[in-house]
Subunit: 376 residues, 3 copies
Amino acid sequence: MLRLSRSILGFENLKVRMMSSITESFQTAQQRLKHLKDEPDNTTKLKLYSLFKQSTVGRVNSKRPGMLDMVGRAKWDSWNSLGDMTQGEAMQEYVKLVNELSGSNSTTEETTNNSGNLEGYPGLKIERRGKLRIICFDKPKKKNAIDTQMYRDIVSALSVAAKDPETSITVFTGTGDYFSSGNDLSNFANIEGTIKEAAENAGHLLRDFVGAFIDFPKPLIAMVNGPAVGISVTLLGLFDAVYASDKATFQTPFSALGQTPEACSSLTFPNIMGLAKAGEVLFFNKKLTAKEAKDRGLVTEIFPDASFRSETLPLVEKFSQLPVNSLVYSKELVRSQLNDRLHKINQQECDRLVERWQSADCIEAIMNFFSSKAKI
Amino acid sequence: MLRLSRSILGFENLKVRMMSSITESFQTAQQRLKHLKDEPDNTTKLKLYSLFKQSTVGRVNSKRPGMLDMVGRAKWDSWNSLGDMTQGEAMQEYVKLVNELSGSNSTTEETTNNSGNLEGYPGLKIERRGKLRIICFDKPKKKNAIDTQMYRDIVSALSVAAKDPETSITVFTGTGDYFSSGNDLSNFANIEGTIKEAAENAGHLLRDFVGAFIDFPKPLIAMVNGPAVGISVTLLGLFDAVYASDKATFQTPFSALGQTPEACSSLTFPNIMGLAKAGEVLFFNKKLTAKEAKDRGLVTEIFPDASFRSETLPLVEKFSQLPVNSLVYSKELVRSQLNDRLHKINQQECDRLVERWQSADCIEAIMNFFSSKAKI
Amino acid sequence: MLRLSRSILGFENLKVRMMSSITESFQTAQQRLKHLKDEPDNTTKLKLYSLFKQSTVGRVNSKRPGMLDMVGRAKWDSWNSLGDMTQGEAMQEYVKLVNELSGSNSTTEETTNNSGNLEGYPGLKIERRGKLRIICFDKPKKKNAIDTQMYRDIVSALSVAAKDPETSITVFTGTGDYFSSGNDLSNFANIEGTIKEAAENAGHLLRDFVGAFIDFPKPLIAMVNGPAVGISVTLLGLFDAVYASDKATFQTPFSALGQTPEACSSLTFPNIMGLAKAGEVLFFNKKLTAKEAKDRGLVTEIFPDASFRSETLPLVEKFSQLPVNSLVYSKELVRSQLNDRLHKINQQECDRLVERWQSADCIEAIMNFFSSKAKI
């Protein structure tokens, strides 16, 4: 009983933390809305207006405008139609709608900003250098944690890179000290609606995200500039070369969080390092140094942190000059007997995580995680 | 012809050595009988009496007791019914019957002796420390060689550990200097009956033994405290973490003994270390140091011999605190595409060994082994 | 257009170089003909005569001999029947015919020359030492590059070694500084006929060559005495132990030559070293030192170059004393779940190479290779 009460208390506590995270997503979405290439139609604009008002004000609190103020009246009606929707729900609906709008945008032609980076990917910096395409986790204040929008954007960025005949090699790296701290735990904020629905949606998103890496037809290279955690580690098992700074570390604390492996690491890690060394990492949360990760085959080469980018970038630029067909066909051969198995384990892993995310183990472990963070 | 005569001579020599081994099993069985939880019924008691007499005395050598001594008469009849059964056969029947009795016992609730260890496992010491269960090879005078009874008891101990909700992690280690010298070659003593039958029985036992490791649903950790030989090495390929003393060594002298790999090592070793490094170990009897075994991925970490237990035990105790469901589900994912293949290769390996054990290669190699031991 | 012209020019240049290579094969074939065990029948002799004349002289340039000179007339008729066949085509037909004749010869009993080596394998030195059979690349002036004839002879030498009950282990090594520089690029000389036919023939040859390694039932050991390139590296993934000199290097420049992996390396290399380390080698032409190749599991052990042969030879000789049945059955177990997958990937790799060899990528890359060589 004591335990249960602690859970409930912790759960409320978690909700408060998560609301601040929803608020943050809501603010990002507002920025994002400004950069849409195509202006939304009037119906969508009304929807955006009403969700924004419900989010910031709550239930409609003014009188219905008169018949002659047709625009004001349409806005009021739309806001009013949201009834008792909570502010949290409204923010999430707003975020979701903006995401849909920018998602359909990102399939159009690429636009470059002043610094030569591709636009429209908040939290990511996407750069083209000749036949090289560099996707950079770019949220250094949050240790490059991957939020829901970034998952979606990476899927779309990979799809563009796969189709672009001028791209031969795609690189992932991070801005600042971290490669990536992995899944943004504030993604768990999406537990408005039932937990079950949220877990299932997250499962589908994860499956599609990992699937995009499995199916990516051109070489993928990781330049791991610093610590990597969770899914930013497990994904490496699907890469075609992994270069790491000597300050990089690798940790997958699944069981500590009541969770289970993802990104096909249940299959790739034992293939790479054998069952015992994989077990220590996947089951027992072992944190690997760059040296250990190289010895276990997860990392290809290590470079000194100070010269990491200046040594690895010329290397991958050289690779990007190789005949693209040979690269694609070579990768196709390597994956010919593997990709079916990867998709199968990806599905199994996601199904299990959907169950885990709804389990007491996981909820309690995540609360403990936040509590211990709060103490520091 | 010369070669054949040497074989026959060696074979007789082998029989003498093996008789001493049967005698030993017979003595162990007598001890074991005293610790049965449930008293055998009267029919079984009579059977045990008659086999004991035939074993120690031989064919009945007294007159049938008179009609009034009903118990004496029943005993005499039972003994007499064994006719010309040899003493060796009688000992083996006795051992077999005691094993059956204690086997059916071991599924009942666990009992603990004064030192906190579970009872009823001669040659093994089984200890529970919180959610950790430690199965210890405990026959240091025989370098922790695994005899037929230990094979059976380990299957049963694993079955109990799998079902016990209070056990999260199971550890194997050894008492004394050795981890285990592997298969007790005096198991080959069971060649009363035809060699064919004995080989087939041993094949079934081995298949079930290895099968219990394949199917074990919770993490298995090996604490390899010293030299490991044969099946105590090959089994490691099925473990989820392997910690080794820096004095541990690893050797699988299959071909030197005219045999072939077992415990799925035909599949796990190439998966762990690649075909070439596995070939050297599985085909050419290469003995690995702890360092080499770690470099090849068979061992996870090495610890100084002096502090081996004091460093590894806290580690595995910490692991045992992790949420058991996450551990079980993580292992299930890792094994989802593997266990069918493991069972298949296990069967193939056992079938091949049943053939090998009946081959001249093997019989001669084992005799040479005993001869060379005798010379030292 | 500029690019195309360069291709055509380069292509002509390539043809000149290749003609010198055809001439070389033609000369070797003449030597080879002298060592046939069985004399060809008269029809074959006539065919050989006419192809030789067409090769060296061209179209028949004398009058038809009179009716009484029956032999002279038969020769003239045969030569005349070749019509306008070019000298290049005639040389290739001649080489092909001699190969067929010596191919059918090599299945007969083995003959040994003065230095104890088996005869009839130009470019190879095949030696028997007890139960050891050593196949040595023996074309040091061409860095032990493997030409078409050597591919065929190795298939036949492996077939003999597999069947010979006195052979337990087969070793590959090289004469001189190199292990092997891989595929003899002058094999591309066989582009008389259409390129398509030549590519398809080469694809069949490669498939059968690699297939012979996949199916070889006894342990295969490589003693890599020096640099290894291309197929002499990828084949190592099919070996059961690989010993290397510390001066050996390992390179597979597929994509640099517009090609794709062969010899099942698409499957074996990721199995041995993981996807990322394999990717660097198979996609990005990474040249490995002996130490790196050992760390990645491609090499079993490294020995100092000065004592390489004197240290490794006693080792493999000792292995060759092990019971051959145990070796064969052990290897059979290891390969039981693997060989079907190896044959499948072998076929896929060959199909892809047949496509690649006809691609502009590949033709241009090979021309660049020859040009850069010419510049040195």
